[in-house]
């Protein structure tokens, strides 16, 4: 097959990731229900698809491993080989290796993982089966193919051949709408894909893309979602409205690789040179069916683009604040009205952009069952892991950021929360512990809670230890309440201590968790009852306004300058500073730029040294340039905007504040209102 497949790499990666997720899920299920052959079939299905996709793309090692996995699964599926713990472990290793290979492909690295040992192991397990593979297939199966060449066994339940697929039917009413359009014809196309075609959805996508250039897709059989999910054999039908000739459309489709045939049937012949009776009818003819066909369609958008959109909206929000300030000093009712409207629209825009960035927490949650399982096995603990609220959505950025904190929290729950079955039984608890990971909406926050039914934390004991280690004084200790527990656990020098008996390591990483949550504008709550368990709740904001900023230092305080306003930075020599009409200005490449020394404007004690060169940030506000004199430039970073409350909002010069990674607050400068 001579074609450039590199452009499908991203699609391949995404799709194979989906299969890996499925594999992970079903493997975990298989571990709990080794006799469930449906689960084996599901695993087989994913392994099989992965193999096919990899072969299409020419990823030989991936194909090889998936093939071996499929081979073993075939034995399990037919019941020749019982599902044992060691086989599940093998399958898990397979899964890990597949993941590593796919990662290597994603990062354009050579996938030099050695899995020959694993293959041998799997072959032996498969050989261990009583009968030879060829005879393994049951007589009842419609096509007893040997596992080595089993490319279609899974789909066997679906009857093959185009005759069996339901025909595409169109509502005659819908068709009449097209009859009104001049030169517009409606065709029913029967597209047949190459039998060997493995990334069928890619071909479908290309067919739809081509048709969209030539006309308009009205409907398809099977429906678009089914086509995207490859829930069809090798043919599908599309109704398309177009002014192009049937022959041209047919040829255009045949030019796509792996399309073996295109049948054309004219449903509505174009009428020549006829004017539509009413403009509205025509419009309806164009719009209505399109919506019918597309209402469930979605578009994959590069996340970088959404980030840019988000940043732009962030800038817009900052500017809106500024406009509102100007308006309040002008007292023009019409202006205020228009601004209120703009404010509302900006708000809605922000909401919408925010929504496009929302993804279900499932994306991060899915890898945890495996992690908890492995950790539990390492430590000989028995743990039931429950997940709830996987469908709850969070901003993608937040989700990316909380993955590590969640790992910490779950690790802590396994390492320190749940005891070994022996200890638990002694305490009168069931030997199996439970860890629950749940996501839910709590007013303006999304809460993600990790809960265990383990030993809990004895707050008093922690306080005693904290006192003994000099973290708190005797007097302070008496005032500590349960609410202080988290803070104490997060104190450096306490949390990292491994020697504190009974509570050792409980706070490890908790400070990181706390900081992360707070830098995202959220907070952490810890609830623990000795003997009953621990619950740690990560409260995260629903919305997140992010903006790129240049961080500058003025008199030991950090300030954020929105990057959208920054033209350049530059170190100014004192001789370049001139006084123009009582104000300071710098001369830069024939431009005279007013100089605003932030130390003076912000009334700082520590002033810029006039005899030394100092950095300036040249900002561009509409046509105006303003140079900000600072003590030092820290660098560019993404910041989350926190709004100021009613009291602080009245202070001019600041567009908001942001919480830095250290937990400290930095103000976001609003340059126009500072000047």
């Amino acid at each position: 097959m001579e074609m450039d497949i590199s452009q499908y790499k991203d699609l391949f990666i995404t799709e194979s990731q989906e299969h890996l997720d499925a594999l992970n899920k079903f493997l975990l299920q298989l571990e709990n229900e080794p006799d469930n052959l449906d689960v084996v079939t599901e695993i087989f299905r994913s392994a099989h698809t992965l193999k096919g996709m990899s072969a299409t793309m020419g990823y030989d090692r991936l194909t090889e491993l998936a093939h071996e996995m499929e081979n073993l699964l075939e034995h399990l599926r037919t019941g020749d080989t019982p599902v044992t713990t060691s086989i599940v472990d093998m399958l898990f290793s397979c899964f890990d290796t597949l993941g590593a290979l796919i990662n290597a492909i994603a990062e354009d690295r050579p996938g030099d993982v050695d899995f020959s040992g694993l293959v041998t192991e799997m072959r032996m397990a498969a050989e261990g089966a009583a009968v030879t593979p060829e005879q393994a297939a049951r007589p009842g199966t419609s096509r007893p193919e040997p596992a080595e060449t089993a490319p279609t066994t899974v789909e066997d339940t679906v009857p093959e051949g185009r005759g069996e697929a339901p025909e595409l039917e169109l509502d005659p009413q819908e068709l009449t709408l097209y009859e009104a359009a001049p030169g517009m014809g409606v065709l029913k196309l029967t597209v047949e894909l190459d039998r060997e075609c493995l990334l069928k959805s890619v071909r479908v996508f290309m067919v739809f893309k081509k048709l969209a250039q030539l006309g308009e897709v009205i409907a398809s059989q099977p429906p678009v979602e089914a086509l995207e999910d490859e829930k069809f054999e090798s043919t599908f039908q599309v109704a398309v409205a177009s002014t192009e000739s049937p022959d041209r459309i047919r040829k255009a489709l045949l030019a796509i690789a792996e399309i073996s045939g295109v049948g054309v049937e004219t449903l509505v012949a174009p009428r020549e040179g006829e004017e539509p009776e009413h403009g509205t009818v025509r419009q309806a003819g164009e719009k209505v069916p399109m919506q019918a066909a597309r209402k469930t369609q979605s578009v994959r958008v590069n996340i970088a683009r959404l980030d840019t959109l988000m940043n732009l909206v962030g800038e817009l929000v900052i500017n809106r604040t500024r406009l509102a300030q100007i308006a309040s000093s002008l007292e023009v009712p019409e202006l205020r009205e228009a601004l209120d409207h703009t404010a509302r629209l900006t708000g809605e825009l922000q909401d919408e952009v925010m929504k496009t960035r929302m993804v279900p927490v499932e994306q991060v949650f899915n890898r945890f069952p495996r992690m908890v399982r492995d950790l539990a096995r390492e430590q000989d603990k028995e743990i039931d892991f429950d997940m709830e609220g996987k469908e709850i959505e969070l901003d993608r950025t937040i989700l990316d950021e909380i993955s590590d904190p969640l790992i910490h929290m779950l690790r802590n729950a396994v390492d320190h929360g749940i005891d070994t079955p022996r200890v638990r039984l002694k305490e009168g608890k069931p030997g199996r512990g439970t860890i629950k990971l749940s996501a839910y909406r709590d007013r303006n926050y999304v809460a993600i809670a990790v809960e265990d039914d383990g030993g809990g934390i004895d707050a008093q004991m922690v306080f005693d230890q904290a006192c003994a280690r000099g973290v708190v004084t005797d007097e302070e200790k008496r005032q500590l309440t349960k609410e202080d527990l988290l803070r104490i656990l997060c104190t450096p020098g306490f949390s990292t201590s491994e020697t504190v008996s009974g509570v050792s390591g409980r706070g490890v990483g908790m400070d990181a968790v706390k900081f992360k949550a707070e830098s995202l504008g959220g907070f952490v709550v810890l609830e623990s009852e000795p003997g009953e368990g621990t619950r740690i709740i990560l409260n995260l904001p629903l919305t997140l306004a992010i903006v790129q900023a240049l961080m500058v230092e003025v008199s030991d305080e950090l300030y954020a300058v929105p990057l959208g306003t920054v033209r350049e930075t530059y170190v100014v020599n004192t001789e370049d500073i001139k006084t123009v009409q009582n104000s300071e200005a710098i001369f830069l490449r024939d431009e005279v730029i007013p100089l605003l020394r932030l130390d003076r404007v912000l009334e700082c004690g520590h002033q810029l040294n006039d005899s030394q060169p100092f950095p300036v940030v040249i900002t561009e506000i509409g046509p105006r340039l303003i140079a900000l004199g600072v003590h030092s430039l820290i660098g560019q970073q993404e910041i989350v905007i926190s709004t100021l409350d009613e009291f602080l909002k009245r202070i001019e010069g600041f567009a908001g504040a942001t919480i830095l990674g250290t937990g400290r607050v930095a103000l976001i400068l609003d340059i126009p209102s500072l000047a």
Partner: protein, 168 residues
């Protein structure tokens, strides 16, 4: 806040603390929480009694040096210094105080008249006086700590105190 006219022997909970040599109390229902001293980010262009802003569970909250606000001299920071976060007119504000604790008083120990008590504290901040055996508590009106008059003062300060008449 008009609870003084109601049931005679009702208990009320106060968060009491010291500022300088004075003892103060705030209705516990006005208190959002007590936290230890943290790094406070200076907020320029605010009245002198605003120490700065802090991150309170993801929320940006102004912190007021209560001694400066009330004009009390001789207040010092020490290990017992805390930030009591109160809710004044739906805005959270942190107050820097010493040794806060929660006590129960019965409502009839509260006297409405803000007479005497202290020559140091401006009576407009005083909501009442609580007479305990050994000491006299000033019941602080937290809504006044950031009162409207003071808020408009801030705007005026900006106009009145530009360090130097720079450009524009």
């Amino acid at each position: 806040m008009e609870e003084k006219g109601f049931a005679v022997n009702r208990e009320m909970q106060l968060v009491v603390f010291r500022v300088g040599r004075e003892d103060f109390g705030v209705d516990v229902r006005k208190v959002d929480g007590v936290i230890s001293m943290v790094d406070i980010t200076r907020m320029p262009r605010t009245p002198h009694f605003v120490e700065g802003i802090i991150n309170l569970r993801g929320q940006i909250v102004a912190v007021v040096d209560l001694a400066l606000r009330l004009g009390i001299e001789g207040a010092e920071r020490g290990p017992a210094t805390r930030i009591v976060v109160v809710e004044a007119r739906e805005v959270k504000v942190g107050l820097i105080v010493e040794s806060p604790e929660v006590i129960n008083v019965s409502a009839d120990e509260v006297e409405a008249s803000p007479m005497l008590a202290s020559s140091e504290v401006n009576t407009s901040f005083i909501k009442g006086i609580v007479k305990l055996e050994a000491r006299l508590l000033i019941l602080l009106d937290v809504d006044k700590v950031l009162s409207d008059r003071e808020l408009s003062d801030i705007d005026e300060m900006d106009l009145a105190e530009p360090e130097q008449p720079t450009d524009s």
